[in-house]
């Protein structure tokens, strides 16, 4: 039940009654009249309990795009329901309209279109639907809140999608797919074929040529069916914002580009998100299914404000993966976290796998290092130089363990990681 402003106004106007008729009886009569009007209004208002809610529409949306969710209001009662309706969503779902009017005749259905423009990644669940149906006098209303469950998963934006065609072209160049006469630059033997004018004479297979009348060349292709394990660090260092984006989101973007590229190159890609326990895992996804499952697994991830457990991460990895693979660890080059956590475990990891560490650097540090002019700027520059020096030292140390390090600002991390992968592939190191 809900009262309306009209009732308050009537009661205020009723205050004139005792001025002209100063008696308890007049006032009691006024109250009785108001109470009777409220009771009549409640009795005659549309029955909100007879309403049923159904939903349809988008269940997932990329961050930055809008989703539309339809709420269907069905009236099972015998009277028409005219009501105000609010479909309640969390604030970051940015659902519009906030409230709307519905007019559902008995036994019919009406649609309410909601538009969601989520501002953050993750799952956004509808909280409840509230209807308020006022009576014919507009003095009182029946109100009911009833859940109508629906969840919209807000997926990471994947802004580095635009780099994918260029990287795929580079990949095709490696495989030699698009120009027949260029010898594939891979290291894995593909097939034998007849020599064509223009082929590199170094690739003539003399033994096969001897067996046949024709000159035969070997063709090469990059290695295929290698395993790539993407590891997302969701610990405290991933919460830091570079620009206005958490480091975790930049890492996700890079992981998605690498995943898309590697699956097209014929490699198997797995994903693990870890801080002190497994937050998400994608394993054994098929080539076509990989990107959607990665995006789904990553959507609800949030940075946890705890120190990552490097030992747990390494054992979680080692227990799952038997064959040699490329482990891409997306983390931050934080001296304390890496030196105390990861470095002692690296020999175990590098003995079995090829390890690549991708870290998002902060352009703000570069700006500070270039600052000159007054004393504050110079101290800023000194602190930034020191941070960069530590980062360089850490990178050198990691490289001494045979680890590949990709350290790039947020705008370049995804293509830089893809390039590093392509370089490894071309060199046949996978």
């Amino acid at each position: 039940m809900a009262l309306t402003g009209r009732l308050g106004l009537l009661a205020a106007l009723g205050a004139l009654v005792p001025i002209f008729l100063p008696s308890w009886w007049a006032l009691a009569a006024l109250w009785a009249a108001l109470a009777a009007a409220v009771a009549a209004d409640l009795a005659l208002a549309g029955n909100v309990r007879a309403l049923r809610f159904h939903r349809s529409g988008d269940a997932r949306v990329r961050l930055g795009e809008t989703a539309s969710v339809t709420l269907i209001v069905e009236n099972l009662g015998r009277r028409r329901v005219k009501a105000r309706l609010r479909d309640v969503w969390p604030p970051s779902a940015a659902a519009t309209p906030r409230a709307t009017r519905v007019d559902v005749p008995a036994g019919e259905r009406r649609r309410v279109e909601m538009t969601l423009a989520p501002t953050r990644r993750g799952d956004r669940a509808a909280v409840t639907v509230v209807v308020r149906s006022a009576g014919p006098l507009g003095l009182a209303a029946r109100q009911l809140s009833r859940p109508a469950p629906w969840t919209v998963r807000v997926l990471p934006a994947f802004p580095s999608r635009r780099h994918l065609p260029a990287k795929l072209a580079k990949l095709r160049e490696l495989t030699g797919n698009h120009v027949a006469l260029i010898r594939g630059q891979g290291t894995e033997f593909d097939s034998l074929r007849e020599y064509v004018d223009g082929d590199d004479v170094r690739s003539i297979d003399w033994r096969a040529t001897a067996r046949r009348a024709d000159v035969v060349v070997r063709t090469w292709r990059p290695e295929r069916d290698r395993r790539i394990y993407l590891v997302l660090d969701t610990g405290r260092t991933s919460a830091g914002r570079v620009g206005d984006i958490p480091r975790l989101d930049c890492s996700m973007d890079a992981a998605m580009l690498l995943g898309a590229l590697a699956s097209r190159a014929g490699d198997r890609v797995d994903l693990l998100a870890y801080d002190r326990r497994v937050r998400a895992r994608v394993e054994g996804a098929s080539r076509t299914d990989l990107l959607p499952s990665m995006v789904h697994a990553m959507a609800p991830l949030e940075p946890e404000l705890i120190e990552s457990d490097a030992a747990g991460m390494v054992s979680a990895l080692m227990s799952r993966v038997r064959q040699r693979c490329l482990v891409v660890l997306l983390t931050e080059l934080n001296t304390a976290a890496i030196e105390e956590g990861l470095l002692p475990l690296l020999p175990r990891l590098t003995a079995r796998h090829l390890v690549m560490i991708a870290a998002v650097s902060d352009p703000r540090v570069g700006e500070m290092a270039a600052g000159r002019g007054d004393l504050a700027a110079v101290y800023d520059a000194a602190a930034a130089e020191r941070a960069r020096g530590e980062r360089r030292r850490l990178t050198a140390e990691l490289r001494s363990y045979g680890v590949e390090v990709v350290d790039a600002p947020p705008a370049e991390i995804a293509p830089a990681l893809a390039d590093a992968y392509l370089a490894l592939k071309a060199a046949g190191r996978l």
Partner: protein, 404 residues
């Protein structure tokens, strides 16, 4: 990494901060902004002081036997005293009743200030009464049989009765005066008639004589000398051996009765207030009922990634860590110089290659080895100016090596 609100100061630390204002500048700026208010307050205080100083300590009252103003009655009081009549001034009805004796006349002025209790006390008092322009309740209680009839605006009235005091006075200038009707009876004397009603009435009320005067003007300083005013006043007030002049003070607040505010409010007003309260409660209920709940949501932490670097810069600055700052700047510069010289990167922080690096840089720049050596490996800067100079020379070296 600590979660903290973004700070404006941290963002601006890269750009040159404006020099802070001195305490004097701050004070003068605050004074300028508050000047108008201060001046207005001072002016108000000054006006209040002047008004308080100009205000007389005692307000002169009409018909006050101690007041020498035009409306006062000091002249009459002095004349009465000179003639040997005793004059007591009472400011309260109770005092007047106590002072009154069988041989006295009580002059009752300003009757509008008398409460019902005061009138009762006066009725119980001894001696004669002279009521000056009484109101209805005083007239009803103290002068039975006399009723207010109307008002006369004739300046003077001629003698038309046999009252001794009137006879001695002759014509009297009343100015505007109230006129009275009497219900007749024994011992009723009416004087100075206008349109069948009289301005001066004398009645017997038991043992006392009650005289009702329709105008205060004959008794005031301004009009005492006109016509027979002085004689009338003297003979009415001074008819007995002593005079009690009652000029009541304003009744004290709350002294008039024990009625509370709710007793004085009409019943309808109380019901009105009740109904307004009901209306307010209904409006509150209307506004309190939300269309749906408030939705709480966990928000992500906001930590800037460069926060630790900025914090370190502020620590350096706060502790004037010139040595550490210079070391970091030199290490950074060497790191960028070494590849330009064609040396491996690992030599940058290796002191064994110091001489080689210095020679290489000096060879490609306009500076000699001593200057380059001091710049790249020198001691800690002695003051802030030297630190700034160090960054300048490092920048110059780097630029020259790059361009060579």
């Amino acid at each position: 990494m600590i979660q903290s609100p973004p700070q404006g100061g941290a963002d601006g630390s890269g750009s040159p901060a404006p020099p802070g204002p001195t305490a004097g500048q701050v004070a003068s700026r605050r004074f300028r902004s508050a000047r108008g208010i201060v001046l207005v307050l001072l002016a108000l205080v000054a006006i209040a002081v002047i008004l308080a100083a100009l205000r007389p300590s005692v307000t002169p009252q009409d018909l006050d036997p101690t007041s020498p103003t035009e409306g006062g009655s000091r002249a009459l009081a002095e004349i009465l005293k000179q003639n040997g009549t005793r004059l007591d001034v009472a400011r309260r009805a109770g005092d007047a009743a106590g002072l009154a004796s069988p041989g006295s006349v009580t002059v009752v002025t300003r009757p509008e200030r008398l409460t019902d209790g005061d009138i009762d006390r006066l009725r119980g008092a001894q001696g004669d009464l002279l009521l000056v322009q009484p109101n209805r309740s005083v007239l009803r209680e103290l002068a039975p049989g006399v009723h207010r009839a109307g008002t006369s605006f004739e300046r003077t009235a001629d003698l038309d009765c046999a009252l001794p005091a009137a006879r001695l006075a002759g014509p009297v200038a009343f100015g505007g005066a109230e006129t009275y009707a009497t219900s007749g009876g024994d011992g009723v004397v009416t004087c100075y008639r206008a349109d069948d009603y009289s301005r001066l009435v004398q009645v017997r009320d038991g043992s006392r004589t009650v005289t009702v005067l329709g105008s205060p003007e004959p008794l005031t300083n301004a009009h005492l000398t006109e016509e027979g005013n002085a004689a009338l006043g003297m003979n009415l007030a001074g008819a007995r051996s002593s005079v009690v002049w009652l000029i009541p003070d304003l009744p004290e607040a709350g002294a008039g009765g024990d009625a509370t505010l709710s007793d004085l409010l009409p019943f309808g007003v109380k019901l009105f207030v009740l109904e307004v309260l009901v209306a307010v409660a209904l409006v509150a209920l209307w506004r309190a009922r939300r269309l749906g709940p408030v939705v709480a949501e966990a928000l992500p932490v906001v930590v800037r990634s460069a926060e630790t670097v900025e914090g370190r810069a502020r620590l350096y600055r706060a502790h004037h860590a010139r040595g550490r700052a210079a070391d970091a700047l030199r290490a950074g510069a060497r790191e960028r110089l070494v590849p330009l010289l064609g040396l491996p990167r690992s030599t940058a922080q290796d002191f064994a290659f110091a001489q080689e690096i210095v020679t290489g840089v000096a060879h490609r720049t306009s500076y000699d080895e001593a200057v380059v050596g001091t710049a790249l490996y020198g001691p800690e800067p002695a003051d802030d100016a030297q630190l700034l100079a160090l960054t300048d020379i490092l920048d110059v070296l780097e630029r020259q090596v790059r361009q060579s």
